[in-house]
C-alpha cells in the first residue's frame, strides 16, 4: 500500500496513537502525583536518566573542586584571610550558643517541657537544576529508599530551599521557594516584632512576603525566618527584607525578600526527614 493511496487517518495513525498515549500518560501521572508518587513510566525513565545525570554532575563537581581555583588566582589569598577572621568570630559565637543551648535544655528539663520531633538531616546532591525553564524545581539523588517523603523540608546550611513534592525510589523532586507553588509562613526575626506573613515565589531571584497587616512591624534589612506553621520547622532563615510597601488596596503590607540561598548555584542540599 503506497502513501498516496492511504487515507489521511491511516497515514497519520502513528501520530494519532502517540497523542492518545501522551494524554493517557498525563492522566496516569497526575493521578499518581496527587499522592506524591511518580507513575511507573516516569519513575523508570527518571531512574534510568538519573544514572548518567548523576555521573555528569559528579564529574562537573570534581572538576570544579579540583581546578575551580585556577581562574580565581590571587583573589584567594585575600579571601582566605577574611575567612580566617570570620571563622574565629563564628567559633566564639558557637561556644556562646552551645552554653545557651545547654542552659535551655536544663531549664526545659526543670520545667518538664517535652521536646518536639527533631528532623533527621539527609544530605543529597542536586542532579538536575531547573530542567524545565518554566518551573523552579530541582531533582535530588535521594528518594524513598533513603526515607525521603513528600513535604519533607529542604535546606542548605544558609537557608531554606523548598520542599519535596514528588518521590520515587532513588530521586525526589523539590519545588523551590522561588516557584509560585512554593509557599511558607514566615516571620520577622526580631524580638520586638510580631509580623507574620506568607512568603511566595514569583519566578525571580526575590520572594514576595504578603498577608502582612498594615501595622506590621517590618523594615528593610530585617531577617525573615520560617514561622513554624505547617510543615516547615520554625527558625529556618529565608532572607532579608529589601523593601516594604502597602498593597494596591492599601489594606496590607507587601515585602520583597532577597533569599539567602543562591537558587541558581545549588549543588548539595539537606533534606529534613
Amino acid at each position: 500500500m503506497t502513501a498516496g493511496r492511504t487515507g489521511p487517518v491511516l497515514r497519520y495513525m502513528p501520530f494519532v496513537l502517540l497523542l492518545i498515549a501522551g494524554t493517557l500518560l498525563g492522566i496516569v501521572h497526575d493521578r499518581a502525583a496527587r499522592q506524591g508518587k511518580l507513575d511507573p513510566v516516569s519513575s523508570l525513565v527518571r531512574t534510568v536518566i538519573s544514572l548518567p545525570a548523576n555521573a555528569t554532575s559528579s564529574t562537573t563537581r570534581w572538576f570544579s573542586r579540583e581546578f575551580g581555583w585556577i581562574p580565581h588566582g590571587y583573589r584567594l589569598e585575600a579571601e582566605n584571610r577574611s575567612l580566617s577572621a570570620r571563622v574565629t568570630a563564628l567559633e566564639m559565637a558557637n561556644t556562646s550558643l552551645k552554653q545557651q543551648a545547654l542552659t535551655g535544655q536544663r531549664l526545659a528539663a526543670d520545667l518538664g517541657i517535652v521536646s518536639t520531633h527533631t528532623p533527621k538531616p539527609e544530605v543529597a546532591q542536586v542532579i538536575a537544576l531547573r530542567p524545565d525553564p518554566n518551573f523552579e524545581t530541582i531533582i535530588i539523588n535521594r528518594g524513598s529508599n533513603s526515607g525521603i517523603k513528600v513535604h519533607d523540608v529542604v535546606i542548605t546550611p544558609i537557608g531554606l530551599v523548598g520542599q519535596v513534592y514528588v518521590v520515587n525510589s532513588s530521586t525526589a523532586g523539590v519545588v523551590l521557594l522561588t516557584d509560585q507553588n512554593g509557599m511558607v509562613s514566615a516571620r520577622v526575626e526580631r524580638a520586638n516584632s510580631r509580623a507574620v506573613g506568607i512568603c511566595r515565589g514569583n519566578y525571580t531571584d526575590t520572594i514576595v512576603m504578603n498577608d502582612l497587616s498594615a501595622e506590621a512591624d517590618i523594615h528593610p534589612g530585617d531577617r525573615i525566618v520560617t514561622a513554624g506553621y505547617g510543615v516547615f520547622p520554625p527558625g529556618i532563615p529565608i532572607g532579608t527584607v529589601l523593601s516594604v510597601a502597602l498593597d494596591q488596596g492599601q489594606m496590607n503590607k507587601v515585602a520583597v525578600i532577597k533569599p539567602f540561598v543562591d537558587f541558581g548555584a545549588l549543588d548539595e542540599v539537606i533534606v529534613l526527614r
Partner: protein, 168 residues
C-alpha cells in the same frame, strides 16, 4: 543497519544526551537569564531529518523524557508530551511536503517551534503567572533558535537525511 535505523538511533542518543545536559548544565549557560531547552531543540532539528510519523515519535520521546525529569509541580505532564508531539509532527509534515533539507530553516523552526510548543502547553495547561511564562517562552525560543544552527549540521552529519521524502 539501514539508514533509517541509524538515523533513528542517532536522534534517540542525541535526545538522551540532551536531557542529561539539560539536567546538569543548562542553568550554567544562561544568556541574559534565558535558558535553553535542549531536548526540544534536538527534537525540532531531528524532526527536520525524518518523515512525518517518525518526527511525531521524536517529539513524543523528547516530551516524555523532559516531563519525567521535570515533573511539573502543578500538572502539565501530558501537556508537555502532547505539545511536543504536535510541533514535531508539523515540522516533519512541512519538511516532507513543502521545504527540503534547508539549514536556513533550522533557526526559524527553532524559534517558532519553541514558541508554538509553549503556546500549546499554555492552552492545554494555563499557567498562573502569564508574564513569567511569556518571558521564559521568548528567551528560550531565541536561545533554541541560536542552538538549532550548529545542532542541525551536527545531527545531519551524524544521522543523515531522509532521502525518501526529498526532491530529486
Amino acid at each position: 543497519m539501514t539508514p533509517y535505523t541509524r538515523r533513528l538511533l542517532v536522534i534517540l542518543v542525541a535526545l538522551v544526551v540532551a536531557i542529561v545536559l539539560q539536567m546538569s548544565t543548562a542553568t550554567s549557560a544562561l544568556i541574559f537569564g534565558a535558558q535553553v531547552d535542549l531536548p526540544l531543540c534536538v527534537a525540532i532539528v531531528g524532526s527536520m531529518l525524518c518523515d512525518v510519523n517518525t518526527a511525531s515519535a521524536v517529539g513524543f520521546t523528547s516530551g516524555l523524557l523532559l516531563a519525567a525529569v521535570a515533573a511539573p509541580p502543578n500538572g502539565g505532564f501530558g501537556s508537555i508530551i502532547v505539545s511536543r508531539t504536535i510541533i514535531c509532527f508539523v515540522i516533519g509534515w512541512l519538511e516532507s511536503r513543502i521545504v527540503r533539507d534547508s539549514a536556513v530553516l533550522a533557526p526559524l523552526f527553532g524559534v517558532t517551534g519553541t514558541m508554538l510548543c509553549a503556546v500549546l502547553f499554555f492552552a492545554f495547561d494555563p499557567q498562573k503567572d502569564t508574564s513569567h511564562w511569556a518571558r521564559v517562552m521568548t528567551g528560550t525560543a531565541i536561545y533554541d533558535g541560536l542552538v538549532s544552527v550548529p545542532l542541525f549540521y551536527l545531527l545531519r552529519k551524524l544521522a543523515g537525511r531522509d532521502y525518501s521524502t526529498a526532491l530529486a
